[in-house]
Amino acid sequence: GESVGLHLPTLSVQEGDNSIINCAYSNSASDYFIWYKQESGKGPQFIIDIRSNMDKRQGQRVTVLLNKTVKHLSLQIAATQPGDSAVYFCAENWANAGNMLTFGGGTRLMVKP
């Protein structure tokens, strides 16, 4: 999801359900992607990354999927917990940009108990 001004896209899920947060990136030359989680009043925290030579990578309760054909990235959170409530940002990078990450607008995840 991309930001639309002051109103972040919001995903509301029930505790225990799986969550899927989507991101469309802009540059077909991007070769590195990161998901960050930002809780209220805190800086973004690294969750998981993936390089363009992969289409899936798994972490603890999280999976990132990369579809280069349609320039789409998704973050899947298994068994969503109240502590997962936060704003999630995707970021992309490409080799010629050094380590200059370009961030998406963010999606707010709300977990209902």
Partner: protein
């Protein structure tokens, strides 16, 4: 330190005043970045430093904004003659090396409010 440290955590100032925001990166990290985050928005790149190279200032919104990094470590972001539209969270991040794909580690930010 163990993480990126920013100070102050909150700053309230009057329109027209100058402010200085400080960032202590993770020890050993050669790359340092400043981002701005307005309420409910994504992250807007401002400036980055890599070692002793000239900084990339391409994201600075106006000449009222400047930053320096002394001794390749601590960085200060200065906003002169602050305006209400400068109100935002200013985030600092560092990484080990800018030349490769490296994840950035962020501080908790400075919440700037210009009255």
């Amino acid at each position: 330190g163990a993480g990126v440290s920013q100070s102050p955590s909150n700053k309230v100032t009057e329109k027209g005043k100058d402010v200085e925001l400080r960032c202590d990166p993770i020890s050993g990290h050669t790359a340092l970045y400043w981002y701005r985050q307005s309420l409910g928005q994504g992250l807007e790149f401002l400036i980055y430093f890599q070692g002793n190279s000239a900084p990339d200032k391409s994201g600075l919104p106006s000449d009222r904004f400047s930053a320096e990094r002394t001794g390749g470590s601590v960085s200060t972001l200065t906003i002169q003659r602050t305006q209400q539209e400068d109100s935002a969270v200013y985030l600092c991040a560092s990484s080990f090396d800018r030349s490769t794909n490296e994840k950035l580690f962020f501080g908790s930010g400075t919440q700037l409010s210009v009255l």
